[in-house]
Symmetry: C2
Subunit: 231 residues, 2 copies
Amino acid sequence: MNPIQLFDAESSTYTYILAAPDSRDAVIIDPVDRNLERDLAHIERLGMRLTHVLETHAHADHVTSAGALRALTGAKACVPSGCGIPPAEVQLQDGDVIPFGGREHIAVIHTPGHTAGSMCYLWRGNLFSGDTLLVGGCGRTDFQGGSAEALYDSVSAKLFTLDDATRVWPGHDYKGQSVSSIGWERRHNARLANRSRADFVALMAALNLPRPKLMDVAVPANRNLGLAHSV
Amino acid sequence: MNPIQLFDAESSTYTYILAAPDSRDAVIIDPVDRNLERDLAHIERLGMRLTHVLETHAHADHVTSAGALRALTGAKACVPSGCGIPPAEVQLQDGDVIPFGGREHIAVIHTPGHTAGSMCYLWRGNLFSGDTLLVGGCGRTDFQGGSAEALYDSVSAKLFTLDDATRVWPGHDYKGQSVSSIGWERRHNARLANRSRADFVALMAALNLPRPKLMDVAVPANRNLGLAHSV
């Protein structure tokens, strides 16, 4: 039961649609503002009814369409409680379960590290890992309460302990890599596999990444569900 | 049971991996030569075993990696019998069924029009429509034995008669549209819905599209499963 994976070429962001097999209901994860029409077209063409919009965190590189999708479809906006997104009606906590489509359940896993509030979502053996765990890598940890120590602990304790066959659907990829598995990432992830916590922290501290160009626009916008920007 | 959808940004080609739910076996449809390593990485990361490589037709805009994948994995190359691809061991006919992964079956549907030999593949309610039916459109019909009349008849008689909920996974898209449904395309496809055969033929004749840049390289290469180019 794979999700439908959509791509934003400008920010290399993946958006996911999870379709309940026994109903018309569907959930979208991390939608991007400039793809609003495209994403709504998918909902329409597949005869789906959008019930929830989920964010994995307050993104620094693109603006969400969560607020616009909520206004246009009536879907509930569900966000990590620690991300400072007050307009969302559902403030998720670690261990929460989001029911949808009659018999579907999405498990909420708090994975601080990329940002303090970052969450991953687990549905039918599919992990939506946001920027916590990427294919062969991980998100940066140098802003928004990010912490290399926390990311290492989140991944080690909460993600690499999932079943090996769990499919990992990342929040971004820059090389056309769409999906991975927990087993492969635990054994081969270039940053996290076979590395001590101290080594990982040193590696992340040495990255010296540039500040995201859109950060000062995107983060405040995303804390308002993108409403200042997308409608 | 959605496929895994992979994208080639250079030619806007979609490649699909169909994973059997009850085994490690998998099938790939329309792989692109320059993505060979990427596609093999997906097979490896998900612990899959590639058993079949399928082509929907002899492409004019990119070169397949079918021959290379066959050499590297032992997968069988399966091609439409009318496409002139002699090195493939399985020459498919309309109505054939390709079994894989123990309990999976792919139905083969001959849909001449984009090219004389073009095939679509149907698996678990998912139609892999190649360049016969695109999201909101269709492939061109002006070379390789293409025929607007034949495409209209193929789509009307063999695709639009499938269940409305059948998901349509196209061979290309240029606007980030990943998937559609038979019901929506029958009602709303800009070229084919609510249009007579004569009107469609006139519309296609008036397109005056430029010759594909890679055609003289790609078609001969694809008739050799891409082997002259990708390995």
